[in-house]
């Protein structure tokens, strides 16, 4: 069995950097850019030479790293899985360890640290493989082909692709690095409960060096945004760090803006980047380029950045892109100015494609069969909470699924503007529904299947937890007074009472010939979000 390593990361630059470094050390490495592809490669490897190590990112569109971990361990318990996680997402990392991951690595990481973890994991796998079998040649039992083998099936439907932030921003991104590695970057994240930072940029140097600078710039921006919500201050400090660390000399274009949901204002600075397009909701036929342009970062100390601002309202759309996309349009244009073509194409797609503008423009201009000459990144942002996200999970009814479903729920809620209390309520209610299935529907652990469906759109999150067991006993719980323990010491009714108290609506649906389905709903109000209508 070769020392084979599978890397799964949707950030192609990171996957490529890891691949190159581990190849240098003599490992046999394959990469995938989503968990579904990773799982496919892993399954294919089982009949030939199974991967010893799987290095997987935690958060990816579709199946998450934790879900992939569950499947890999089911298929090959000897394989070691190392989770890569971003910006202190420790809770989920700890969950991953509980589910059998060997270790986790936090981004941004030092490549030598990764190499150490990989070497340790390889040693561990080799050690396990050398251990003698417990029973000498036990008779091979026929493997069951029932759904028990089917640990977790996830069907993730995000319509359209993208993410909702603050309940009022719908973000769509399409990125295609040249030759699997690129120096384009983008990011978006919460600065605080009212503000979202959006950044897009391009590092002047390509290849692995550009890629590593890009990772560093992204991390620095995240770090500095923890200290300030002023774009000028953030980028100024990032520039100082780069200069101090000797990265200066590589020009880096950056457009960095912060959307203030309360005030309905987008404040931004442009450090030499392509000017984004802004489509006003009142007249989507007239697009404006966001004014303001400054010097690149990385080249000079104390560059003079100018802050600009624009008022935003429901239905406004921003379109960000890198020069690689403009080059693609230029090649297709017949002497026509590429920005004009871009503007016109986007206008023709609006308002229908307002939540998937980046994806739609990419499909229109980028030929998948032809290698792009430069990295391409397109990011569109619509001020409006029309994103509809759906997810369905089918899992075996056991304790491990409880953690997996919690992880999937947290992933789904990440982009939704909810208070900590509401988030906690939803997860507790999901726990209750699953524990109910575990104890009552399928008392013999692992015997049955649970289906969890999530949907959120506009202002409601709806979760359906369906099992094929017994129903619920409604209204059995009597809260105790200072003398009695009545409701507390009864065996049933407490869970449904708790769910009803934590969610805005709880209903039970009988599924004829199958079992029951508990439906949990939580409402959140976009009216409170403060964006001008």
């Amino acid at each position: 069995m070769d020392n084979r390593i599978l890397i799964v990361d949707d950030e192609k630059n990171i996957a490529w950097a890891l691949e190159e470094s581990l190849l240098d050390d003599g490992y046999s490495v394959q990469t995938a850019h989503c968990a579904e592809d990773g799982l496919k490669l892993f399954k294919e490897s089982l009949s030939v030479s199974p991967f010893k190590i799987v290095l997987t990112d935690m958060k990816m569109p579709g199946m998450s790293g934790i879900e992939l971990l569950g499947k890999v361990k089911e298929l090959s318990p000897v394989t070691q899985v190392v989770i890569i996680t971003a910006y202190g997402n420790l809770d989920s990392a700890v969950d991953a360890i509980r589910l059998g991951a060997l270790d986790f690595i936090q981004k941004p990481f030092q490549i030598n640290d990764v190499k150490k973890v990989v070497a340790r994991a390889i040693d561990l796998v080799n050690e396990k493989m050398l251990q003698p079998a417990v029973a000498a040649n036990p008779p091979e039992e026929p493997k069951p082909i029932h759904k028990k083998q089917n640990v977790l099936e996830i069907q993730d439907r995000i319509l359209p692709s993208g993410e909702s932030m603050l309940g009022t921003l719908s973000i769509d991104v399409k990125s295609a690095p040249k030759s699997g590695v690129g120096a384009d970057f983008y990011d978006y994240f919460y600065v605080n409960e009212d503000k979202v930072l959006i950044v897009i940029g391009d590092v002047g140097e390509k290849g692995i060096d550009g890629s590593l600078v890009m990772i560093m710039v992204k991390s620095l921006i995240r770090s500095e945004a923890g200290h300030s919500d002023n774009p000028v201050e953030i980028l100024g400090r990032v520039n100082s760090h780069l200069r101090k660390q000797g990265i200066g000399g590589v020009p880096i274009t950056v457009f960095l803006g912060i959307f203030d949901n309360k005030k309905g204002v987008f404040e931004y600075i442009n450090a030499g980047h392509e000017k984004p397009l802004f489509f006003n909701h009142c007249d989507l036929r007239s697009a404006n380029m966001l004014i303001g342009n400054g010097i690149f970062i990385g080249l000079f100390d104390n560059p003079d950045f100018k802050l600009s601002a624009i008022d935003c309202a429901q239905g406004d759309i921003f379109l960000f892109y890198t020069d690689g996309f403009i080059r693609v349009i230029e090649k297709k244009a017949n002497k026509e100015e590429p920005y004009g073509i871009l503007r016109r194409s986007a206008q023709n797609m609006l308002p229908e494609k307002r939540y998937s503008l980046a994806e739609s423009l990419f499909r229109e201009f980028v030929d998948n069969d032809i290698e792009p000459e430069d990295d391409i990144t397109i990011l569109s942002v619509c001020v409006g909470a029309g994103l509809c996200r759906e997810k369905e999970i089918r899992c075996k009814c056991d304790k491990n699924s409880l953690v997996l479903v919690r992880s999937a729920t947290e992933e789904l809620l990440r982009g939704v503007q909810l208070s900590y209390g509401d988030r906690h309520s939803i997860i507790t209610a999901v726990y209750e529904a699953l524990i109910n299935s575990l104890y009552f529907a399928y008392p013999d652990e692992g015997e049955g299947e649970i289906v969890v469906r999530y949907k959120f759109a506009d202002n409601v999150i709806r979760l359906e937890i369906e099992d094929f067991g017994t129903g619920f006993e409604l209204d059995k719980y009597i809260p105790p007074d200072n003398k009695t323990y009545d409701g507390l010491i009864k065996e049933s009714g407490r869970g449904i009472f708790l769910m009803k108290s934590l969610m805005d609506k709880v209903s039970i649906k009988s599924v004829l010939g199958k079992g029951t389905c508990v439906i949990l709903e939580k409402y959140f109000d976009i009216e409170k979000a403060g964006v001008k209508k």
Binding site: K399, L402, Y420, G421, H424, I427, T428, Y431, E432, I435, L438, Y439, Y477, P479, P480, D481, N482, K483, T484, Y485, G487, L488, I489, K490, E491, R494, G495, F497, L498, S501, L502
Partner: protein, 136 residues
């Protein structure tokens, strides 16, 4: 193991390390039964380390209070995060079990003839507004 056991004077302090769901609930109930069988009367529950509690966990704490009091003992709680306290409030446990800020207060209260809950009730009847529960 999701629960750590320590003795503080004549009181058993149970520190719950994992969320009070699934196996930890069973472990807790088993421990309470053993403690009673060994003649212990007072238990203090440290919930500082937990972020989630299930309805079964709440039921187990309620049952522990019931069974300990039948044996002339009691259970006291400290270190609840707001979200855990909310679960207790929803299910009415706050009405029957005394909650303290610190382990010291919880341990010291063991053996009091009148519980905080009863004191609160007494104060509400007599019209005193001081119901912060820290009366000794």
């Amino acid at each position: 193991m999701g629960i750590k056991l320590n003795k503080n004077k004549n009181v058993v302090v149970l520190t719950v390390l994992d969320d009070l769901i699934l196996d930890t609930v069973q472990e807790f109930s088993g421990m309470i039964n053993s403690l009673i069988a060994d003649g212990n009367k007072f238990v203090v529950l440290d919930l500082t380390g937990i972020g989630f509690i299930s309805s079964r966990g709440i039921g187990a704490v309620g049952k522990a209070a019931d069974i300990l009091r039948r044996n002339a003992g009691d259970i006291k709680i400290f270190g609840m995060k707001p979200e855990i306290k909310r679960m207790f409030d929803i299910c009415g446990l706050d009405k029957i079990i005394d909650v303290y800020e610190t382990e010291e207060d919880a341990v010291l209260s063991c053996g009091d003839n009148v519980s905080i809950v009863e004191k609160k009730l007494l104060w509400s009847i007599t019209g005193n507004n001081d119901n912060d529960g820290q009366l000794n």
